[in-house]
Symmetry: C2
Subunit: 97 residues, 2 copies
């Protein structure tokens, strides 16, 4: 049975290729669908409504609207950092009580 | 219920803090344990035995042996890219048959 982090790696590869298909990249339109399907809770509860747009712009380094697997990882990492910041703030708040 | 990618983000945060504890960073020794516990299959089947060492060196940008959450994400991304390369090569090979 894979470990939790091996499952993480496997899921990232599988989800990317499910959306990218044979092309091996995500178009702007496909990324929009992926965000809605795969990050609905994050989109709903994120305090900064512009953060996903900012991260998307940052990772599309070629400015061609195509996201490679590597860019998809940077995109996920950007969201995970925002998620971790909320987690750390929550734990600190909890520690104060 | 969280989506697959929301579960990925959640797992990365939880695993990092489980190993980092209150410190909010991973030491070299803790990272060694994390690799063994969380990437055993990857370590076993990786064709390039030096890849984990290379990635670890790359992400420890401050050269202080301490890995922040962000560095931990780059570390995971490095392994995921290697994993994806194997996946793509395998799919191409399969397509040829």
């Amino acid at each position: 049975m894979p470990s939790q982090m091996e499952h993480v790696m496997e899921t990232m590869v599988v989800v990317f290729h499910r959306f990218a298909g044979d092309k091996c990249y995500l178009t702007k339109e496909i990324l929009r669908v992926l965000k809605e399907k795969e990050f609905p809770g994050f989109l709903k509860y994120q305090k900064d409504p512009l953060i996903i747009g900012k991260i998307t712009k940052d990772v599309d380094q070629c400015r061609d609207g195509k996201l490679s697997f590597q860019s998809f990882l940077w995109f996920t990492a950007g969201l995970a950092i925002a998620h971790n910041d909320c987690f750390v703030a929550h734990m600190k708040q909890k520690g104060k009580k």
